[in-house]
């Protein structure tokens, strides 16, 4: 019993000591900057978080470098991270950025609708949230959206597909197949819808035929934007529906998938159809120069990152960042003020002029 008394006493002392140490209790709310949006501004050397999705294309790699360089040279302390292992990782990364006291968090979401809790945390901690490239859905806690006009991208792709096929074969009907992006990327559906706005009427009037019959977004998706998934689907479509019929065009939402389609068609020994793309990846620009891929979209990552950093600087200075669309982007909870940059379609016709300013792609086209 003596022992018990001792042990109990010791523990009690430890308990009291521990609480005494912390006599002030929890920190008062509002000691952090606590404000949102544009009112206060914050220190020049604040932490800035940039949460990017999976490192699956050259553009994301480039974006990482640009964000690091741009934010560093502006005097900020950037944390730029990719979520290669899924949504859960991105959630934890955003939490870590909040813990580090990030004043602005730029989010290129892996799944725009699965970050609600962390965005709430960020807001509570007083951070401003900018959705980068992909809109954050189902949350009130997103302040700005900066992106290329993705619906426009889809429209341009659809139009390019029509133009390209017409140039090859003056009159229809044309056989086409449709590829969409990953279903967990909010933009994928926007691209597809934009393209379908142009293509749907032509499908309805019989100018375009989708022999596989797979014309809805759900059927056309490419999980995780993975080339292998697109290639596998294309292989199946070619053997299933194009044994004898010719394939005139393929709507591909980006360059990685476009090249997967080219690989698949070549493997099947078929003539290359007109294939669209997006992102201006180096390989695809070469492919366009070689006359294989028909088109890509130039959404210069440099400009997008540049503008995102401009927004951060505005917020730091206490200014309201400029937006040019405060009506279109409703995320089911609020309409997010957006700054949209215009995309440019690139085909063999304008490839030489489109990348004049680009340090990597420019030399390729000379």
């Amino acid at each position: 019993m003596r022992m018990i008394g001792k042990a109990g006493k010791a523990a009690a002392i430890a308990a009291i000591a521990a609480l005494a140490l912390t006599a002030c209790g929890r920190a008062e709310p509002g000691t952090s900057s606590g404000t949102t949006g544009a009112t206060g501004g914050f220190a020049q050397d604040s932490a800035i978080g940039v949460a990017l999705p999976k490192k699956t294309s050259e553009n994301w790699v480039l974006a990482e470098k640009l964000f690091n360089d741009g934010l560093n040279s502006a005097g900020f302390k950037p944390t730029v991270q990719f979520a290669n292992n899924g949504v859960a990782e991105q959630q934890n990364q955003i939490s870590a950025m909040i813990a580090k006291g990030a004043k602005v968090i730029i989010v290129g979401a892996l799944d725009g609708s699965q970050l609600g809790t962390q965005l709430q945390q960020a807001k509570d901690a007083g951070a401003t949230i900018i959705a980068y490239d992909r809109l954050l859905l189902n949350t009130a806690n997103v302040d700005y959206y900066v992106a290329y006009d993705n619906f426009k991208v889809g429209e341009l792709q659809g139009q390019a597909l029509l133009d390209g096929m017409k140039a090859k074969k003056p009159s229809g009907p044309y056989n086409i197949e449709l590829l969409a992006g990953s279903p967990d990327d909010a933009n994928a559906k926007v691209f597809f819808d934009g393209a379908m706005k142009v293509l749907k009427p032509k499908i309805d009037d019989g100018t375009l035929k989708v022999l596989s019959g797979q014309t809805t977004f759900e059927k056309a998706v490419t999980q995780d934007w993975k080339a292998e998934n697109a290639q596998r689907r294309m292989d199946t479509l070619l053997t299933g529906s194009y044994g004898t019929a010719s394939l005139d065009g393929v709507l591909s939402p980006n360059d990685t998938l476009a090249r997967a389609v080219i690989t698949s068609v070549k493997a099947a020994g078929k003539p290359l159809p007109v294939i669209t793309g997006q992102d201006s990846e180096e390989q695809s620009v070469k492919s366009i120069l070689a006359g294989e891929q028909y088109s890509t979209i130039n959404k210069d990552t440099r400009k997008l990152v540049e503008h995102a950093i401009v927004m951060v600087k505005d917020l730091q200075a206490g200014k309201t960042p400029e937006v040019n669309d405060d009506k279109s982007y409703n995320n089911t909870v609020k309409t997010v003020p957006a700054f949209l940059l215009p995309p440019v379609i690139v085909t063999a016709a304008n490839v030489k002029t489109a990348y004049v300013d680009d340090p990597v792609l420019g030399p390729l086209t000379k």
């Binding site: 042990a7 308990a15 991270q81 290669n84 934890n92 813990a99 609708s113 945390q121 759900e218």
Partner: protein, 427 residues
């Protein structure tokens, strides 16, 4: 050094994993300039990993029984998706939705348990099939879309203990919880000593017990302090609470109940267990079924935290859970492992993840570092076993879970036992 040995009983290495965890926390606390042990970050740590830790609880039982479950990620995602759809499309209230999720998990578990236990197909195959089946089923029912869940449901994944009672500057419920934890630890140590004495087992010296208690209680109180002083509106997170309850329940079931004993027996030597009257098929069935129920729970917590169910939920979770269990000292061959050990293993991974993220280390490096940690942790364990020492966590937890053993009793010097083992092979 001698003092340490006395404190932990024989071999400090038995406590390797706890030391590793503490060292890791201290290291990151230093490297991140004190961010690691801030209330906000500790809360994040629990919020962001509780579903993996919960999975590890089910997984350790599966692994103790000598199986493996590769389907947990898919099952979690499927259950999460169905529950999300049930609430949005059929408008069923959140508590019924949770019951539905657990029921669905049980059903899936019964399916996998049937193949494993009664048809006799290795769990590896059954759950590999399950991984594909339920991933597909999840994408089919969800149409590869993200489905949002209502605010009340989000509480189980993103909620906190509410603020009640007088304004003390702390979160009162968290304080109570912490004090209850301290009381429980002291009570059980005292009781353990008393019964050990009554049974005539060796009892460790008083100062050893006291120092142990002080260390453990200080850790609990410090954690309580962190949780109770977070940003207003935050406190001890609900998923952490669910985890704590699960640890208590399963820790108890695995070490103190007939079923728990039978799981170890079946995993340790199925034939010997059967010849002792253990119904090994039933045990295998229960273990597999339990795993899927827990996977369903983890899936729902994740969906609640993510505010919606998405098509790629749960990818790779099985591997995270399995890694936690093996870091925590379980054996691939079955029969060895503890719930607490797996939680510590999971926490090592979680702290590592969190610390590396705070240090802005890229996902590529994180993955490499985690892989190496898994390898090294298990290698140390294997090395110790080959030296005749028992598994780090296994031995360490033995003293915690089985009170009849004198706590902190200096074990037989392991070197001696290792020789004995060698000699006893003479026959």
């Amino acid at each position: 050094m001698n003092a340490l040995k006395k404190l932990f009983g024989g071999d400090t290495r038995q406590f390797g994993m706890i030391f590793a965890l503490v060292a890791l926390i201290v290291l990151f606390q230093w490297l991140t300039g004190g961010i690691t042990l801030t209330p906000g970050n500790v809360i994040n740590l629990f919020n962001g990993n509780s579903y993996i830790l919960i999975l590890a609880i089910g997984m350790v039982l599966v692994i103790i029984a000598g199986h493996i479950d590769l389907s947990v990620g898919s099952v979690a995602a499927f259950v999460g998706m169905v529950v999300a759809i049930a609430m949005r499309e059929w408008h069923i209230p959140w508590f019924l939705a949770i019951l539905l999720g657990l029921g669905l998990g049980a059903l899936i578990g019964a399916w996998q348990g049937m193949w494993t236990a009664y048809v006799g197909i290795p769990a590896f195959i059954v759950t590999l099939a399950g991984m594909l089946i339920f991933r597909g089923a999840q994408q089919f029912v969800g149409q590869s879309n993200s489905i949002p869940v209502p605010r009340e449901f989000q509480y189980i994944g993103a909620g906190y203990l509410p603020e009640i009672g007088p304004a003390t500057g702390y979160n009162n419920l968290t304080l109570l919880l912490g004090l209850a934890g301290v009381a429980f630890v002291i009570y059980s140590e005292v009781r353990r000593r008393r019964t050990a004495k009554a049974l005539g087992a060796e009892v460790s010296e008083t100062w050893v017990s006291v120092l142990r208690l002080v260390l453990i209680c200080a850790a609990i109180l410090y954690a309580t302090y962190l949780f109770a002083t977070g940003r207003p509106g935050t406190s001890f997170p609900i998923p952490g609470l669910i985890l704590a309850v699960m640890v208590l329940i399963y820790g108890f079931v695995s070490s103190k109940t007939v079923v728990g004993r039978h799981v170890y027996a079946v995993g340790g030597n199925r034939h010997a267990a059967e010849l002792s009257g253990v119904k090994s098929k039933k045990i295998n069935f229960l273990v597999m079924m339990n795993m899927s129920i827990i996977a369903g729970l983890a899936g729902m917590i994740f969906v609640a935290r993510s505010t919606s169910a998405g098509p790629s939920d749960g990818t790779g979770w099985e591997l995270d859970a399995i890694a936690a269990v093996f870091i925590g000292g379980a054996a691939v061959t079955g029969g060895v492992g503890t719930v607490i050990g797996s939680i510590i293993g999971g926490l090592v991974m979680a702290v590592l993840n969190n610390g590396l993220q705070l240090l802005s280390v890229g996902a590529d490096w994180q993955s490499m570092i985690k892989g190496l940690v898994l390898l090294v942790a298990v290698a140390i364990d294997v090395y110790n076993k080959s030296q005749g020492r028992a598994s780090i966590i296994g031995l360490m937890m033995k003293n915690f879970n089985r009170p009849s053993g004198a706590p902190g009793t200096p074990l037989q010097p392991d070197e001696v036992t290792s020789t004995k083992e060698t000699i006893s092979r003479e026959a």
